[in-house]
Structure formats: C-alpha cells, structure tokens
C-alpha cells in the first residue's frame, strides 16, 4: 500500500499515465491556481489553468527538501508573470504569508477528468525575488512550511520599559521602575554602561572542591 488513494495508485501503475502538478496560491485578493502544463482541469471544484491571464505560468519547482536544525522545510517555485504589473503585485509585501498548496495528480486523457490528487506540500509564501535577464524575466518564490512559525522564539523579550512599551504603547507602568537589571534601549547599538564587569576569570577552584563534591 502507498499513501496515495487507491484510484490514483491504480492509474500511476498503468503503462502510460498522464500526470500533472498543481499549485494553488491563495493570494489576498486573487485565487491563483496553476497547472504545470498547458491545460485546464477542475480539481475539487476549483479550476486550474496552465496559463493565468494575470499571473502567467508556472516555470519550475525546486526539489522538496526536509529542514534540519533551525531551518524549516522549504521549496522554491518559479513563476513567469504575464506582465510587469503582475510581477510587481506578486512581489509585494502583502503576498507574504499567503497559503500555498502543491499537489500531484493524474488525469484521464479520454475524459479530461482528474482521477485524484495527492497533496505534496502545504506552506506559505515567504520571500519573492524578481530576476530580469537577457530574453527573460522570472519570479522566484521561497515557500516555507508552517513550521517556520515555530522559530519565532521571542528571544528579545525583556522586563524593561522599552519592551513593555513596544507591546502596550500607552502603558507607562514600567517607565519608572528601578532595579531592572538589563534595560533594552531600542535603536541603540549596545547597552551603555559605565561599569564593565568581567566574569569567568578566576572561577577555577582547584582539585580540592572537585574531590569534595564526591
């Protein structure tokens, strides 16, 4: 058994299946549904086209790789926008975070009906890069998995007036609190302090205490 549905599994085992890739991007004010080849298919009530009149065609999909360490799984997709206006719209900051679904499926060439699709990747648009070159123009999109959100680790949170004000702008309750060990000054390169404290030197206390510990 595979993870594919029985119908899709059976179709892919035939001698010459017809396969396609589909990308759906839920842009803030547009529903972009693209196929990897010239054609038009209805998948789950939504019409996918090979060439969108506004946003152009799908050019490439990078290899899907897993993320390791502190990087989330990501995939790159390349669009060939139909116009300069479309590429500007696609590269606008508002598009960041738009949900992306990439799926693979098989279609019956006789009827043009989709047999089934398998979702390969679900993520959101991250960074667009517009490339212009000799005889070409393309828009590369970095699509990251939703796991990317897990890396927002709030390391900058401090018990200080500055941080407090950044969350509650009109709340002055921390402004005159003294004794906050580490105030964070926004927009200042370092933490200005008259006293420099060195620590770490002289911490070695010899073999005696080591023995005592046991």
């Amino acid at each position: 058994m595979t993870v594919l549905s029985a119908a899709l599994d059976a179709e892919l085992r035939t001698l010459s299946p017809t396969v396609f890739g589909a990308v759906h991007i839920d842009l803030p004010d547009y529903d972009l549904a693209l196929l990897d080849g010239a054609g038009i298919l209805t998948i789950g009530g939504r019409t996918y086209v090979g060439h969108d009149e506004t946003f152009g065609t799908l050019s490439e999909i990078e290899d899907l790789t897993d993320g390791a360490g502190d990087s989330a799984p990501a995939i790159g997709i390349t669009l060939l926008p139909a116009s300069d206006a479309a590429s500007a719209a696609l590269a606008s900051p508002l598009m960041q975070g738009a949900p992306v679904v990439i799926s693979l499926g098989a279609v019956s060439p006789a009827t043009g009906l989709v047999i089934d699709v398998q979702t390969i990747f679900v993520g959101e648009l991250d960074v667009p890069t517009l490339y212009s070159s000799e005889n070409g123009r393309r828009l590369d999109y970095e699509v990251v998995s939703v796991f990317e959100r897990l890396f927002e680790d709030d390391e900058s949170a401090r018990l200080s007036a500055g941080h407090h004000r950044s969350i509650f702008p009109n709340e002055a309750g921390m402004d005159f609190v003294t004794g906050v060990a580490q105030p964070v000054y926004w927009g200042v390169a370092g933490n200005p302090s008259a006293v420099t404290v060195y620590s770490g030197g002289g911490g070695y206390s010899g073999g005696a205490s080591f023995a005592e510990a046991y």
């Binding site: 001698l15 017809t18 396969v19 054609g39 090979g50 060439p109 043009g112």
Partner: protein, 198 residues
C-alpha cells in the same frame, strides 16, 4: 494579436512536429520502460520558403515575420493531397468540454472526418491545432462526437469555430533572432519555425 502570414507562396518544405512534454522513464539496465505523459502536448512547424524576389513578395514576407517575431504568427498548416471536401460550417457543440472527444455540430450531413485530418479550434481569438483520431461520419443532423489528439488544452465555448477547411497553426517564432538572406540576384531566402504557444 498574432500576424497572419501570407498564404502565397506555399513553403517549399514544411516539417510539422508533435511536441511531447512527457517522457520515457528508461532504466539503464534494460528494465521495462515506462511512459509518463504530461499535459500540454501540441504542434510545431518548421518552414522553408521558396526563394522569392526581394521586390515584392520577399519584402512583404520579411516584414510580416519581423512583426510576427514580437506578436506571434498564424500560418496555414499544410495537409498534403488531402481533399477536405464540402464539410459545412462545424462549430463546437456544447460548452465546457474536456478530454479527447469533442462534440461538433454544423457538418454537412454524411461528411466523413478522416483519421489524421487536422483542424484548428478558435478559442478566445487564439487557434489550437488538433487532429482527428478516427474516421467518423456526420449524422443526418450534422453532429459528430470526434475523437481528437492531443487532448483539449482549453475549454471551448459553445459555438466556437472549428476550422476544418484550412487548419491554421498559431504560435511564436522559435528563437530570439530572426534572420533572412539577401543575394545579388535580388532574391530572399527564408526559413523559420512556429511553435504553438499554449
């Protein structure tokens, strides 16, 4: 808007091609080959024109091709020694069709579409070239459910025109550089390639 290339003179040589975007999965050790088909199979045409006098024909052809380099070209798709005959005025019968069978109406009753006969569908002002995949005769009402190849790449609306009389290929000229040759005898030599854009 694509430029309609002149019908005259006809090319001295034309090499039609079927563009297959799928591929054969061929194991290097001699295992069974699998064929993976994809969407979007379409046609292309390589054309060699006869030498034309620069004075009139050559100039007009070159000018058309220069415009077509930017806007795309429409050209007659040659069907050697095929007498299309009285076919009527076929149009697409019913909206939202897909796949490899196309319902048409408006044929001359009894007209037989030949296996391998080409026709072009006009959808949204753009031509899509297809081929009949069987001999089918029109009924008394002029309707045909025609098996076609490759599968439909668009969904033609009800009443979309099917050009059986003279199929046309519409697409872009291949390459980023259009060139022609002029010689001292005032002749123009031309060859180019049209590939369907979608």
């Amino acid at each position: 808007m694509s430029i309609a290339l002149p019908a005259d003179p006809a090319p001295t040589r034309a090499d039609p091609a079927y563009l297959d975007w799928g591929g054969q999965l061929r194991p290097i050790f001699g295992g069974a080959i699998q064929k993976l088909n994809r969407l979007g199979d379409r046609f292309a045409l390589n054309v060699v024109m006869p030498v034309m006098e620069s004075a009139d024909l050559g100039r007009v052809w070159v000018a058309n091709l220069v415009l077509a380099q930017r806007q795309g070209a429409i050209m007659e798709f040659p069907q050697h020694s095929l007498d299309v005959g009285q076919h009527g005025a076929p149009v697409v019968d019913g909206a939202d069709q897909s796949g490899s069978t196309l319902a048409l109406r408006g044929f001359q009753p009894g007209y037989v579409v030949r296996f391998g006969q080409f026709f072009s569908l006009i959808v949204g002002g753009r031509r899509y070239l297809h081929m009949a995949a069987a001999d089918v005769a029109a009924g008394g009402d002029g309707r045909i459910a025609l098996p076609i190849a490759p599968m439909l790449r668009v969904r033609p609306g009800n009443g979309a025109i099917a050009e059986f009389g003279q199929p046309m290929i519409e697409g872009f000229l291949d390459g980023d550089r259009l060139s022609w040759s002029l010689d001292t005898a005032m002749f123009v030599g031309l060859s180019f390639s049209i590939g369907e854009a979608r």
